[in-house]
């Protein structure tokens, strides 16, 4: 009987496929009724082996997933979400997600492929087109602008529309576009910005700043003409934030961008980057009487989240440490992305009007640029851990989105046996389908790794002598699973590049059902706006 059910399902699929072959927008004519099929013989459980559906775990798991999904008939009304949490993995393309999923699973002693990152359990997901207003493959500035403002702009530009010209201060006037975080502040919600990159880096900056040049992070980075024309550096815009009562939480790296050049960094002893004499860290505590500034993990852990209402944390002079180096590689100590997310939610949840929180895993991108997959995967897992914290702490009236700004030219290739170490050399399967006894090899007889890059600094391994015989290094001689190993690249570049294909978006909570199919990146703002009625709440708060 169950065999018949499978056949029926296949016929249905076939019919759907045929229907899809009709001309665009027209329903095809109904075909002639086919001959009556013969009734298949009934399988006998455990006897003839044909009734395998009852015992096959793949079949049962798939069936279970569909059963659960069939219960999803949600149609949330506008404004149903009280809170929004937006997670962005910088450079977290789909191949990164797949590899990180396997990496995390293997770290837990499993095969890996069956593992799911925390957000992969979300009920809704889709694909996001990431091109910017002027480039097929974008950088983080226009992509995050699209996510938090609802408009696409040109590369290098932060929360200013594409009417502006990069690096031309005068072109920004009148073209600044309102961000979700600004709307939330106007609406009386609490807001937070968290990143493992510098807080002034393009992705976090797009939530609170407007700049025609992503590199104008401190005034010393700006040309005099731009300063004279009235453009403001990004760090100062966080402190001078004009809406609502200002962001309640701002945590990440980039300390020296907030310090004057007359002061030295408490951890490294190097001078600050500000030429204007402003110490933005002290300005934060002056501006917010209930505010605090911390720069290491011990200070961070001692913050009383009941009494501190505005928290600025700057844990590195530039980007924070990679997750792989965070515990042993940092003298002063830094909180993890999950710890920052947890404390931020403790603070933000105290506002009955709701909150908007953006959390960025900012260093996935940097590890990929360096051609170092292990660190990119570690930071992706760290983002997954932070999302898990949010799932546990956020109330049901919270829309949680997890997405990426863009992808990287990162590949998972070859035909490795299931459970093969994701950072390791490819070991395929033999004729019987079991693990092969030797590594797979290229046309030169040399082994290769599953993970690689289409371009980047991993080409040919420089001047290593092993490169001369085969035009590829002999990876038998290298510790390819080491965290410091740099994967091979096809095209030699000093820095690996972004990629232009779609990224994923996962959604949970009120309004999540809007996240489906293939969408433009700027649509994500509109999802958040619909779900939480940001514009409506902001307008109401102004009346």
């Amino acid at each position: 009987m169950k065999l018949k059910a499978i056949v029926l399902a296949m016929m249905t699929l076939s019919a759907l496929t045929l229907a899809g072959c009709g001309s665009d927008g027209e329903k095809g004519a109904t075909g002639a009724t086919g001959a009556t099929g013969a009734d298949g013989s009934n399988g006998q459980d455990g006897t003839d082996g044909r009734d395998y559906t009852a015992a096959n775990e793949w079949f049962m798991a798939g069936q279970d997933a569909v059963t659960k999904a069939s219960g999803n008939s949600i149609s949330d009304s506008a404004g149903k979400a009280k809170n929004i949490i937006l997670f962005v993995g910088d450079g977290m393309g789909i191949s990164t997600l797949t590899a990180a999923r396997i990496y995390q699973g293997q770290q837990q002693g499993k095969s890996g492929e069956e593992n799911r990152l925390s957000f992969e359990t979300f009920p809704y997901s889709g694909l996001v087109k990431t091109y910017s207003a002027n480039q097929q493959t974008p950088d983080s500035a226009p992509t995050m602008t699209a996510i938090v403002t609802g408009v696409k702009t040109k590369d290098g530009i932060i929360s200013v529309s594409d009417a502006a010209v990069r690096d031309q201060c005068s072109t920004s006037t009148g073209h600044e576009v309102m961000t979700a975080l600004e709307l939330a502040e106007i609406a009386g919600m609490s807001t937070g910005i968290i990143s493992t990159a510098r807080l002034t880096h393009a992705t976090p900056a797009a939530t609170y700043a407007h700049s025609v040049e992503r590199n104008w992070e401190a005034d010393s980075d700006m040309p005099q003409a731009a300063l004279d024309a009235g453009c403001k550096d990004i760090a100062s815009q966080l402190i001078d934030f004009p809406y609502g009562d200002g962001p309640e939480v701002a945590m990440g790296g980039g300390r020296t961008y907030f310090m004057p050049n007359t002061e030295t960094d408490p951890e490294y002893g190097r001078a600050g980057r500000r030429n204007d004499g402003r110490d933005l860290t002290t300005e934060w505590t002056s501006k917010y009487s209930d505010g605090a500034y911390v720069w290491n993990r011990a200070q961070f852990m001692s913050v009383d989240t009941n009494s501190v209402k505005h928290l600025l944390g700057l844990f590195e002079n530039s980007h924070m440490q990679y997750e792989a180096d965070r515990v042993n590689g940092d003298g002063a100590g830094e909180p993890s992305l999950a710890e920052m997310t947890s404390r931020a939610l403790d603070m933000l949840k105290q506002n009955d009007s709701g909150y908007f929180l953006m959390v960025e895993g900012g260093r996935i991108d940097h590890a990929h640029h360096a051609g170092n997959a292990a660190r990119a995967l570690e930071d992706t897992v760290a983002l997954s851990d932070a999302v898990r914290v949010a799932i546990e702490k956020a109330d049901k009236d919270t829309l949680i989105l997890v997405t990426a700004d863009h992808s990287h030219v990162f590949t998972i290739a070859g035909y490795p046996v299931r459970g093969n170490p994701i950072l390791g050399l490819v070991r395929g399967v033999d004729a019987s389908g079991a693990a092969a006894t030797t590594y797979s090899t290229d046309s030169n007889g040399m082994p290769y790794t599953t993970l690689g890059y289409a371009n980047g600094p991993g080409f040919g391994f420089g001047s290593a002598a092993v490169n001369t015989d085969s035009n590829r290094p002999d990876l038998n001689l290298y510790a390819v699973t080491d965290v410091d190993y740099r994967q091979e690249a096809t095209v030699p570049l000093g820095s690996e590049t972004h990629a232009g294909e779609d990224v994923a978006v996962y959604a949970k909570g009120p309004g999540a059902q809007l996240v489906t199919g293939s969408v433009e990146q700027n649509m994500l703002f509109h999802v958040m706006n619909y779900a939480a009625n940001l514009v409506g709440r902001a307008e109401a708060a102004q009346n």
């Binding site: 530039s318 990679y322 590689g329 001047s463 410091d484 030699p492 000093g494 590049t497 972004h498």
Partner: protein
């Protein structure tokens, strides 16, 4: 017994270096000018100021600049004098590039380990120097080590018949070194982690296309005898 005549033959080359034989280590900021000959030609300046050490090639105006103010967080910059630009590498960046850093090895131009594996040989002209010679990891070395400066006065390597020789020529003054380091401090700087996001910057685009961390300019050697600056796969 057979090795003795060969060592004696080597001695004249090392002795000639003792024309520059400092008997005291300068304080504060100082440096040493090296003349490169053989497979690599030109001049190399080693600059020192407290926890800072830089290797500067005045011909192409490229420098490698290390700061060990916080020894757990060595900071490295590659300086491009012609463009007045600087690329800053933080500890995490160096790890992603597989660069393992030893302050002692950077500051002494070569590793203590190298001296340990080479054979000490007699030399007479410079009383504040020790001579070493020998083979290590397919490289033949001759080293004249200044015990006052903690630096080589001569470092000669031979690999596959190619000989490269670094020979100290003179000390650099306090002002020369300080001015140079202060000048680099004012250059426009970019974090290495951010280079990949800036392909529209003509200078950085050039760096992205050409690469710029692969080959060490100064040929200092790590504790394994590998040139510092090589990435560690």
């Amino acid at each position: 017994m057979k090795i003795l005549p060969m060592l004696l033959l080597l001695c004249p080359a090392l002795v000639s270096a003792t024309e520059f034989c400092p008997d005291a280590r300068p304080t504060d900021a100082w440096g040493v000018s090296y003349q490169l000959s053989g497979d690599k030609q030109g001049t190399l300046l080693l600059l020192r100021q407290q926890a800072q050490t830089a290797f500067y090639n005045p011909q192409n105006q490229i420098a490698e600049w290390w700061r060990f103010d916080n020894p757990k967080h060595p900071q490295f910059s590659r300086v491009f004098g012609e463009a007045k630009r600087r690329i800053d590498y933080y500890a995490g960046d160096l790890r992603t590039l597989g660069v393992r850093v030893s302050q002692a090895e950077i500051e002494s131009f070569t590793s203590e380990h190298l001296r340990q594996v080479l054979t000490k040989v007699p030399q007479s002209s410079c009383t504040t120097a020790e001579a070493y010679e020998g083979e290590y990891q397919q490289v033949h070395y001759q080293l004249l080590w200044s015990t006052t400066l903690g630096l080589p006065l001569v470092l000669e390597t031979e690999v596959g018949g190619k000989v490269s020789r670094w020979q100290a020529q003179q000390l650099l003054t306090n002002d020369t070194v300080k001015q140079q380091l202060q000048q680099w401090q004012r250059y426009q700087r970019t974090d290495f982690a951010d280079v990949g996001d800036n392909d529209q910057d003509p200078f950085l685009a050039k760096m992205i296309n050409q690469g710029f961390v692969e080959h060490s300019e100064h040929a200092a050697y790590d504790s394994h005898g590998h040139p510092l600056g090589n990435h560690g796969h």
